[in-house]
Amino acid sequence: MFVFIALVFLARLFYLQVASNQYKLSARNIALRTIIEYPPRGRIFDRNHQLLVYNDAVYDLMVIPRQVNNIDTMKFCRLLQIDKDFFIRQMKKARHYSYYKPSVFLKQLSKKEKGPIEEIMYEFPGFYFQTRMLRHYPHPVAAHLLGNVGEVNQRDLKRDQFYRQGDYIGKSGIERYYEKVLRGKKGSRIVEVDVHNNVKGEFQNGRFDTLAVPGTDLTLSLDEKLQAYGEKLMQNKVGSIVAIDPASGEILAMVSSPTYDPNLLVGRPRSKNYMTLLHDSLNPLINRAISGTYPPGSTFKLVNALIGLQDKVITVNTPFTCQGTASKPIACSHNHVSPLRLEEAIALSCNSYFWKTFKRIINNPAFENNHLAYEDWYKKVISFGFGHRFNTDIPFEKPGNIPTRNYYDKLYRGSWNALTIRSLSIGQGEILVTPVQLANLAVIIANQGTYISPHFLTAMSGNDTLSARFKSIHKVDIDQAYFKIAKHSMEDVFAGAEGTARFYKLDSLTQAGKTGTVQNPHGADHSIFMAFAPVDHPKIALAVVVENAGFGSVWAAPIASLMMEKYLRGGTKRKRLEKRILQGDLIHHLKQRKK
């Protein structure tokens, strides 16, 4: 009998101790705690080493319910400016989670809010502060492209083992695109704890501990001053500005209006502010510079002109006639000299001229049929960067749309010709481009046929392999010689006696540009302008879109001109023009109408 019992015990112990693994795991879960050491997130600078984003400490008030006893609740609530119901509710929640483990009692107190209670924390056993890092933006600009940081959601948790409940993750913009470099590496310490959750010491002398590695600092191509100026110019207007350094493809400014202060989406008010922004009728959360798609309008005439020249269906001297507003099949917006040649046509933005050019491109006898000619046209347009994403570090960019031959074959059951798709000649119809792509067109013309994909990153602290891929040069399928013509005609838009932007000509700076007035089936026309300066050695190329603002020459062109002047000359003397733009309000009548 004794032996029997002893054998039963030995068998059971063998099962518990040697055969089964379950209890060993449980023991680790019970007696070991992994303390995560959070690295500071990488900071973000602009091209002039202005700090754009840094980390600011906030303080979570933590509570361990077991240790709370005998506190002056009224005083506690008064110091924290909370009411008693809140206190009771939070304590209940904490107790429900665990009696022994800490839970968050009050999230993200600022240093100021923490002040009054911090000095007498000893009066409130069981409560303590835990430091957390939040993003802070010393210059409240570029909210869209910098993006914001928020707590991980269930999807993030599932997708990446790195995150734990309550961690922060880049939700949009640069914060999201560079999440993996910005977040750094978490460290961990494994400690033994006793039954009361007191830390008793390092587990095996810290053999398994790892140090936190701070996140990588990023330097962006953005110019904070130019960005801020652009945002100011665009105030009370809907639209966007994208400015690029033509030589490097670096984005100098990316304005999407309406915008918001990025500090709104930080900390405790984040979710409330987010909902307000989300439900605003003007969609301030959308980055129109990359996800707004518009027909390029007259700016696209330059592309057709270049393709026409390349295909040798026109020359710089080819004359076409125009009947002004009576022109068929596409009317011209105004009456002007006729016949006229290419450079005049660009400066005057003549619709008839480019319809005739487009017809020649599509009916080019060099191709077996006009559908093949269209395919060749399509290929050339794509080489300008239209119709697809740049796939650099611009998150959520839209590809835009250049209709394919297949698309028309399906739409018209194979029976279509130049006339059917005539809208393409003047940048209307199915063509959709983003402001970034439009700015890139300005870059291409400024560079006479080459571009580096637009991007933000210029440098990273530590190893920098990421930015290297933003250096390859793309060449457009058009000979460089033809770009000289395009460039010259764009210069005439400012300098010419009848140029659409002649009112914004500057003595101190040579500018080149092209207006666009985009027909908008939903309301007033969009005002579009693309430009670069100085003409001979371009340092800035940009596109401006002002929604529902009518003629490109009224709003978009002066904004582009002021931006270029700001970037290259540090500011403007055209105070009256600047004032008109700053005071221009193209929003509030819209809002009222919607109501």
Partner: protein, 419 residues
């Protein structure tokens, strides 16, 4: 008078050696379970290991005293010890101090004594004395009643102190009665009742009763012999069914709620790892995490950080399990097994019935403690608060077991002098 050297020459060295090994092993476990992080002085009297060292010293003194006292002293005064103990037990009920819900402690200065522990050896002595009296035959109903009364009296008093665990120990003496001629049928009946009890709690009285009826019907169909004794069998069946139904009532109404829950947890009917099942669950995890060789002395993650409640007293085995692993636990079990077998061997070689019966008493008590204590820590028995002999922290239990064992060693040493 014989010389002292002779007394020590005749004592059974194997038993004493096993005793010392268990005590030392036990003290090391207590040291590990109660020593904090700070490097410690083993005689630190504010700590449990320090105090236990004193208890061990006093226990050895007690053992020595017993060995030099005349062997006849214990048999002669067996009844005196017994009645004295009963009086003390009544006294505890009246004047005792309540610790953890049990009113079973006397406080003398700052030393607390638990008389229930000492009552065991007195009862063993009295039982041995009674059963070894001439003309006592357990087949005789009157003798049976007296023997059971000797056991029941202290058990009832201890039960009144609300110390169910210690009271249950007196069931162990049934083993002695069995050795001394109690019909084996009683043991069989006991086992059957236990089986019925457990099955009823798991499956409910209706199913168990139905199963019993069907079993018996099948038995009658198959076996001619069973049919011949059908009347008594049917009577037993009827009794069993009555028992089954009363089990449920007893379980629901007589047992204390915490006892009920402990039984349910043991049977796996309930999982409450944060409440009533916490102890056993933590204990199982501590023991289970020990692995084959354990985590090393004073290196148990759970026991060092006090995750196991009562880890230096009733749950002392967890420390062994976690820090010494399977091998260390096996050593402990084998030491106990060796001790128990040795005691039975010694008991069987006694010339006097008193010594033999007393030996069986000692073995039964140790066996019961050992079985129930370890079974509860590894989840094979419901939690019953009784210590692991020689291991658990506490002066009363150590002294009581020492007295219990050494009286027997003394009787054994003296066996050749018995005519």
């Amino acid at each position: 008078m014989r010389r002292r050297g002779e007394i020590f020459g005749t004592i059974d060295r194997t038993t004493v050696l096993l005793y010392l090994m268990l005590v030392v092993y036990g003290w090391l476990s207590i040291y590990s379970a109660s020593a904090g992080d700070q490097s410690v002085w083993v005689f630190d009297l504010s700590q449990r290991y320090g105090k236990q060292l004193i208890w061990i010293g006093l226990a050895l003194l007690l053992a020595f005293t017993i060995l030099i006292i005349d062997a006849k002293f214990f048999s002669t005064f067996a009844y005196v010890f017994y009645f004295l103990m009963l009086i003390i037990l009544v006294g505890v009920l009246l004047f005792g101090k309540t610790v953890a819900g049990s009113k079973s402690w006397f406080e003398i200065g700052n030393v607390a004594l638990q008389p229930a522990e000492f009552a065991k050896f007195a009862t063993a002595l009295a039982l041995a004395k009674y059963l070894s009296t001439r003309n006592i035959d357990l087949r005789n109903l009157k003798n049976k009643v007296v023997a059971v009364t000797i056991l029941a009296a202290p058990a009832v008093l201890i039960l009144l102190q609300n110390d169910t665990g210690s009271a249950l120990v007196y069931f162990a003496f049934v083993l002695v009665l069995f050795r001394e001629g109690l019909s084996g049928l009683i043991i069989v009946a006991g086992v059957l009742m236990a089986a019925l009890f457990i099955t009823t709690i798991i499956w409910g009285e209706i199913y168990v009763s139905a199963a019993l009826v069907i079993l018996m019907a099948l038995g009658f169909l198959i076996s001619q012999r069973l049919r011949k004794i059908r009347m008594p069998l049917i009577a037993i069946l009827a009794l069993s069914i009555v028992f089954v139904f009363s089990v449920n009532y007893g379980f629901q109404h007589i047992l204390e709620p915490h006892q009920r829950v402990r039984i349910q947890i043991m049977l796996g009917l309930k999982k409450d790892i944060h409440g009533a099942g916490y102890n056993v669950n933590q204990a199982k995890i501590a023991i289970g995490s020990g692995g084959l060789t354990g985590k090393g002395f004073c290196k148990g993650m759970l026991t060092q950080n006090h995750f196991v409640p009562e880890q230096s007293t009733d749950f002392i085995f967890c420390t062994v399990g976690e820090e010494r692993g399977f091998l260390g636990s096996a050593v402990l079990i084998l030491l106990f097994l060796a001790l128990l077998i040795r005691i039975i061997m010694l008991a069987e070689r006694q010339r006097s019935a008193f010594s033999r019966i007393y030996g069986y008493g000692v073995a039964s008590v140790l066996f019961f403690h050992f079985t129930i204590n370890i079974a509860m820590t590894i989840g094979l028995a419901p939690v019953v608060g009784i210590p692991l002999p020689f291991f658990s922290y506490g002066g009363s239990s150590l002294w009581a077991f020492t007295i219990l064992l050494f009286i027997f060693i003394k009787q054994d040493a003296n066996r050749l002098n018995v005519l």
